[in-house]
């Protein structure tokens, strides 16, 4: 293990045996992923962080039921997503995917000319707006694929569906997103 971070499975096992700090390492490792997942559902970063923290807490108490050898990441995301959904339902509102979160970060595309950068930024605003109009499950499948780069197997685990369902669900979600964006182009034209 020298110099290499411990495997998830090792940390999970240590946490299951009462090593809280091992769980802390898992929290640090996945806090960004968990928060983004929650954010895609709640649409508000403060709610998302709260949901992620509650998700981590629930996952901790559920560690006893975690199947040895199963991947930790999708299992955690499923709990976090569930927490975020409950929160959103309780708040009784649709998420507004808040663009400022996506725009605050310095971009890596320094090679773009100012015009290209402006166009890219405009596209992001536009697509984020369209994402906000999608159904929660469509948004989540797109987020897992494009925002978090989960594998198909991980997506299936995180969404609680069969592996074969992931592909069709993703292409359906993309098709709906395309419809919305196309519709807006027409509306604007």
């Amino acid at each position: 293990m020298e110099g290499r971070p411990a495997e998830d499975a090792v940390l999970v096992e240590r946490a299951q045996h009462g090593d809280t700090e091992a769980y802390g390492e898992l929290v640090r490792r996945y806090q960004a992923l968990a928060t983004r997942t929650a954010y895609v559902i709640t649409g508000l970063s403060t709610d998302a962080e709260d949901a992620a923290q509650d998700g981590f807490t629930k996952a901790y108490f559920a560690l006893g039921r975690f199947r040895t050898g199963a991947p930790f990441r999708p299992w955690l995301l499923r709990i976090v997503a569930n927490e975020a959904k409950n929160r959103r339902k309780a708040a009784g509102r649709r998420p507004t995917v808040d663009l400022s979160v996506a725009e605050d970060r310095p971009s890596g595309d320094t090679a773009l000319s100012p015009e290209e950068a402006a166009l890219a930024s405009e596209r992001r605003t536009f697509v984020l707006g369209a994402l906000g109009k999608l159904r929660e499950e469509d948004r989540l499948v797109i987020a897992y694929r494009y925002f978090m780069q989960l594998s198909e197997a991980e997506m299936a685990d995180a969404l609680g569906v069969a592996r074969g369902t992931v592909k069709s669900r993703l292409s359906r979600a993309i098709a709906r997103l395309r419809e919305i964006t196309a519709g807006e182009v027409r509306a604007d034209a």
Binding site: T20, G24, V27, R28, Q31, A32, L33, T35, R36, Y39, S45, E49, A52, Q53, D54, F56, T57, K58, Y60, F61, A62, G64, R65, F66, R67, R78, I79, N82, A90, V101, A102, E103, D104, R105, S107, G108, D109, A120, E122, R123, R124, F126, V127, L128, I142, A143, Y146, F147, M148, Q149, G160, I174, L177, R178, T181, A182, E184, V185, D188
Partner: protein, 264 residues
């Protein structure tokens, strides 16, 4: 938006958004550790994930029973699950018995998809659903998918008294149990007896009788589903071929064992 996005632009823009989505600004672990400590300090029932607000849909009488029981309950519980070894079932021993009360109509309906036959239910559930020869074909079959649970409903049957569920004489639940994923939970007080009885083929089963016990389902994340919380009467639990069975009927232990031994 002045231009139309093609699929490549759309995918690229999505990935672009992904790289810009911010994570939390600071280390979350101290906050999570505090929440864990806080929850550890709470009594056992709050760890079941029962949220008072979400209890609202439950019949008022049951809410009163539950809350009264919980409030009177010292923070002490024995989890018997490991002793029982019935996959997917968690049993908590609680020091107070819930008061038996006639159930309102709230539980007469079942959730899940209605299946027209055992064959269809087996196909939907992904395992061979079985029925007890002693009771014959069920009147209704429901299949839930997340997690997979099959419920066989026997409406009034001659010679079988009704259960805690109005208009129902026997209820059978079948699911693929796993020791690390509880599907259903039970909280039993001192008025409820729990004993091991063998079925006619020697399979170990457990018989819960006496005072009604609290019964609830968990969802696929292991969280309690408060709307499924209810009082349940005499129940036999067993596990055969990787499937966990639960028979609820107001019958004697011998009759329950006879019904359970007749599964085919």
């Amino acid at each position: 938006m002045p231009e139309r996005l093609d699929d490549r632009d759309l995918e690229r823009t999505l990935s672009d958004i992904g790289t810009r989505l911010d994570g939390p600004k600071r280390d979350m672990w101290p906050a999570v550790r505090a929440r864990i400590a806080e929850r550890r300090a709470q009594p056992w029932w709050s760890r079941l994930g029962l949220d008072r607000q979400r209890l609202a849909p439950i019949a008022a009488t049951l809410t009163v029973i539950l809350v009264a029981t919980l409030v009177l309950t010292p923070s002490f519980v024995d989890a018997l699950e490991h002793l029982l070894n019935i996959p997917g079932v968690q049993i908590f021993r609680i020091p107070n018995t819930p008061t038996p009360m006639p159930t309102t109509g709230a539980f007469a309906s079942f959730s899940g998809q209605r299946a027209s036959s055992i064959v269809e239910a087996s196909r939907l559930a992904g395992f061979q659903v079985r029925e007890p020869g002693a009771l014959g074909a069920p009147d209704e079959i429901y299949v839930e998918l997340a997690p997979v649970r099959v419920t066989l409903v026997y409406r009034s049957r001659q010679g079988l008294p009704v259960t805690a569920v109005p208009g129902v004489s026997a209820l059978i639940v079948e699911f693929k149990g796993s020791l690390d994923a509880p599907i259903l939970g039970k909280a039993i007080g001192p008025g409820t007896t729990l004993e091991a009885v063998p079925l006619s083929n020697g399979t170990a089963s457990y018989w819960l009788a006496g005072q009604p016990h609290q019964f609830f389902y968990r969802d696929s994340n292991g969280q309690t589903q408060p709307d499924t919380l209810r009082l349940a009467g005499n129940t036999l639990l067993w596990d055969a071929g990787g499937i966990t069975y639960r028979l609820e009927a107001q019958v004697s232990r011998e009759e329950a064992v006879r019904i359970a031994s007749s599964f085919r």
